[in-house]
């Protein structure tokens, strides 16, 4: 028997000790947003937050989630009410086929939460997402979306994303406690210094992935 909290909801599941957290989420919790890609910790499609840290749920035994807080893509927002991060992915073309998207969102979420109110640099975003493979987008649009959601750029509709970052991970009231450090607003007086290079020309960016 494993007790855990998934997207703020307490669950008790009867599973073999080494059942993968990925399978517990999909089978027992019926949360199929988390995908299995490679099944060996390479692609990041199954990324979830375990006590606030991004992990590959295909490599986590159920017993290591006992007593833990787990957040899946379903915990970031709902179909009717997307989080700012999810909206930025939609508006900036960060999602195409969608298989990598739940894991990308979770890794991006961990980075934004860890960065407090600072907008992570492009290099930081690329490093934080290095364990999430995408075969569609070429990554640039994902990087742009993450930085926009963190308040470091403008979304397609031309409004600063930071204004909408309040709903990142759900409304403040419904936001799990571990999201308390999530960014709210950019510093008054414009973007932080690190955001200034957000829209520099593509040509100056390296081809690193």
């Amino acid at each position: 028997m494993v007790d855990l909290t998934v997207n703020r909801k307490r669950r008790r599941v009867r599973v073999p000790a080494l059942k993968r957290l990925l399978d517990v989420l999909r089978d027992e919790c019926e949360l199929t947003g988390t995908k299995e890609g490679c099944g060996e910790g390479e692609c990041g499609a199954c990324t979830v937050l375990l006590n606030g840290r991004a992990v590959n749920s295909c490599l986590v035994p159920a017993i290591h989630a006992a007593g833990a807080r787990v957040v899946t893509v379903e915990g970031l927002g709902s179909e009717r009410r997307l989080s700012a991060l999810q909206r930025a992915f939609v508006e900036l073309g960060g999602a195409q086929c969608g298989i990598c998207t739940p894991g990308m969102l979770i890794s991006a979420y961990e980075l934004i939460a860890r960065s407090k109110r600072r907008v992570p640099s492009e290099d930081e975003v690329r490093e934080a997402l290095a364990g999430n493979l995408c075969r569609c987008t070429g990554y640039q649009k994902i990087v742009d979306a993450v930085r926009a959601a963190a308040g470091g750029g403008r979304t397609a509709r031309g409004r600063p994303a930071s204004r909408r970052a309040r709903s990142l991970g759900g409304s403040p009231r419904s936001r799990p406690a571990l999201f308390a450090a999530a960014p709210r607003k950019a510093s008054p007086g414009g973007s932080p210094p690190s955001a200034r290079s957000a829209r520099r020309p593509r040509a100056s960016r390296g081809g690193r992935s």
């Binding site: 073999p16 060996e40 910790g41 990041g44 375990l50 290095a130 992935s209």
Partner: protein, 289 residues
Amino acid sequence: MKSALSQLEVVRPRTLAQALRALHEPAGERPIPLAGGTDLFVYLNAGTPIGRRFLDLWGLRELRGIRLGPTHATLGALTTFREIREHPGLRRRFPSLVAAASEIGAAQIQNRATLGGNIANASPAGDSLPVLMAHDAVVIARSTRGERAIAFAGLFRGYRDLALEPDELIAAVRLPFAPPGAFPFFRKVGTRRAQSISKVVFSGLIHTGRGGRADLVRLAWGSVAPVTLRAAEAERAILGHVPAAAVDAARAALARDIAPIDDIRSDRAYRMAVAGNVLAQFLRAAARR
């Protein structure tokens, strides 16, 4: 997951003493220690038959924690690479270890993978291992018979063959501080910066004294031999010389120290050339600073 879950059994000790007893007198097959699972679950998911009984260490507080003493740091075996990256004392004292921790897998792996696990997995491509070797690390092994300190230099007897008794558990790693003024270095060469298994991985430590001559040189390599190893001949070619002037001699000597192979990730000629380049890069970086 291709392994039959119903056939797998997990022993879940509450204390280190219980864990050591489970290893010493197993009731049945000796259990395989399980830490962050980032290696073991790759096998289990693929259905590779590695064993049926596992010893879950994850909850053992005795195996956690990073402590900095006056002369060395002690890292519990369950220290994750994320914890290494974020530790201010380690960032100051062991920048090459922090650099290695930052390039192992990616964020998701670093959040789970442990230093003890990287040692126990004993892959010749283990990225933290050359750093530990260059720093003359000592592995603290525990068993029901007590504690034993194993010098890193004598830890790997052969390919994936550790100098550990079957009932011994890696409990901690002791890392002596480098002498003041020594220059630590880490370089991993893989297909890409993250999520790659090294083609060549290197960690060096060098100190220069009078006249800029090297009086301490440690060159530790991974992915170029069946085990992580020190390049003894190359070290001799540098000792007593000004590092930047010893590049050619050291490269020539290195070719006698290492024995890279052709495999799926790279080939012998490439690894030989890259290892020489990395060594040259290290020596020039040491001279520049």
